[in-house]
Amino acid sequence: MISSLIFSILLLAAGIFFTINVKKIRRNILIGRDVELPRNNGERFKTMMLVAFGQQKMFARPVPALLHLFLYAAFIITQIELIEIVVDGITGSHRVFRPSIHGFYTFIVSFIEILSVLAFIGTIAFLARRNLLKVPRLVKRELNGWPKLDANLILIGELTLICCIFMMNGADEVLYRRNLSHAANLGDGSLGFSISGHIGPLLFGGLSDNGLHLVERIGWWGHILMVLGFLNYLPYSKHLHIVLGFPNTYFSNLHKKGKFATLESVTDVVAPNFDPAYVPKTDPNHHQRFGVKDVQDLTWKNLLDAYTCTECGRCTSACPQNITGKKLSPRKIMMDTRDRLEEVGKNMDANKGTFVDDGKSLFDYISNEELWACNTCNACVQECPVNIDPLAIIMDMRRFLVMEQSQAPNELNLMFSNTENNGAPWQFSPSDRANWSKEI
């Protein structure tokens, strides 16, 4: 009775706290400019099913993809078990679904247990890759401090969660055999789960009845507390991709990657020179900044990208400039965007919902040196397993530097003036353009 009450209060509190944070994230994402994406819902759904649900792009690197698949599958399937835990928690029942769907129940829990073992192996491997093997992309400098701790906390949390599942099921198996489990006795002598049916008696067989009940309860409560804790840790962590990976791939760029956005605000200035009858596409009374200075100038999709990033660093490890030791790291571009966005969000929280100028911008996070290094080669975009586009942000920040600040490197200014005067990026006379055709 008391435990049902405590459980219900915890569940409610966790739900409310999570909802508040989700609303904040939603508000932060919608700080971004509106952008109309081509509708094409069928193709969007297909992309989401392939890339997010089907993990398509992960399999470009088969080993981590397989390990990740273990965690992903375990996570998805465990949600089924969670339904029972919640019902049991609220009503005080124990394994409430088992009597009615006996065989299927055994199958599902057994399946979860097998996936949990695989996920356990995956998690250990991931911890090793980060902390022992020091896979280059997982120990880059932008991960120093909080990002590294964040990643390790999540992995340790997952290990704890899996241990709790086996404590819960393992101890319950021994109790069931002793006819002491709170689960309804179906006269079958064993709960019959694939893993805990064997390791339960091995690990806990020597415990007293009271000890078993204690281990079972620690496992049960530990499991649900980890789940609720993880749920509420999500908004603070880099782990939102487990949810946002789906909308983010749904709203993927469906154009060819080589196609960069056309700025309509610029067209409105340029087009009348060529077509006097041109009708402006943007509101002339609302000056829109050319390019991006701060997160408010980015689109909501850019900001959704930032929240979706799980800092895996595949982008950075494929970046030609990063590979050759330059400062540019596409992952850092995404991390910086999110950090600045959260700073702006906190500013709004502190000022009754409106942003009060703090004298800062995205340029306090991302340096010109990083921006000018980019090859616009799309390797980062290609690599991202959840279709994040760091290049779009880099391009828009370059636009701000050039069109609002006139801060391009000198050599590029020279290229601009050559293009403007000679119709070529080099200093050649336009009248010599077809000279080659006389030499053939």
């Binding site: 056309t262 400039q321 290609q382 370059r398 050599e411």
Partner: protein, 262 residues
């Protein structure tokens, strides 16, 4: 070799003729001495298969690609609209180009500014000509040679064209080997994003050196490219390792033209 007369759109128009296709030469192909050889190879192929083509000549101007990637959208759109005005004036419908940057810009970024054309990269056109039996290609000097193809970013990842250049090269009876980073995983040559026109940022290596090293590790006779900028970068990279005597950097068009003795 009989000289080939390359006509401009305005000359064709004055003579009351309409070309089948416009050859968009690009700045590199027009002015850069190395790239001009690629331009001439493309012209020889077009002439060989008797496609009626024309160039814009002095009416062609930079597509605006480097300006756009460097963040100067104003200059890009000025260039784009000027070129679109010229091409629409001539009623241009189909274009071939030897430069993936020009190709990408005209294909993807001109339509929203009023320029709608069917454009192909020269390797696509060559593949089409071979498939249609209009161009007969045999190995010639390249038979049995070891070739590595370097994917240009704006042809490959930018527009998902990976096979056309490879299929064309393979018609030369070569041994085509692949770098680990190829196709969608191809590593940039280091020129894109307007890097061609500036010094690189501080680091521990140049991108073209990294890429050339990867290609040279396969010990090829030829590094085949499909972009004049990649050509420059890879040529410099090969020189960096003093391997220019062993390994040539050639455009796919040059290989075809040379194989059929054009």
């Amino acid at each position: 070799m009989t000289p080939i007369i390359v006509k401009t759109m305005s000359e064709m128009m004055a003579a009351g003729e309409t070309p089948e296709i416009l050859f968009w030469v690009g700045c590199s192909g027009s002015f850069d001495d190395r790239a001009k050889k690629i331009t001439k190879a493309i012209v020889r192929i077009l002439d060989h298969v008797k496609i009626k083509f024309a160039i814009l000549g002095t009416e062609e101007s930079c597509t605006g690609d480097p300006a756009k990637r460097a963040g100067n959208e104003f200059l890009f759109q000025m260039q784009a609209m000027q070129n679109i005005n010229v091409m629409n004036g001539y009623g241009v419908k189909k274009i071939v180009t030897g430069c993936p940057h020009c190709f990408n810009t005209i294909k993807n970024e001109y339509p929203s500014l009023g320029g709608n054309y069917e454009i192909v990269h020269h390797t696509q056109l060559v593949q089409e000509l071979i498939d249609q039996g209009k161009l007969k290609v045999e190995g010639g000097a390249f038979k049995g040679k070891k070739i590595v193809f370097h994917d240009p970013c704006y042809l490959g990842r930018g527009n998902d064209i990976y096979e056309a250049p490879r299929e064309v090269v393979q018609k030369l009876d070569v041994e085509l080997s692949e770098m680990k980073r190829s196709r969608a995983k191809g590593l940039c040559c280091g020129a894109g994003g307007a890097q061609m026109f500036k010094e690189s940022e501080p680091g521990n290596k140049e991108v073209n050196v990294e890429r050339a090293e990867e290609a040279l590790a396969l010990n090829p006779d030829v590094i085949a490219v499909g972009c004049p900028f990649c050509n420059t970068m890879m040529t410099d990279g090969v020189k960096h390792f003093n391997k220019e005597d062993k390994t040539k950097v050639l455009d796919v068009a040059e290989m075809i033209a040379s194989a059929i003795d054009l």
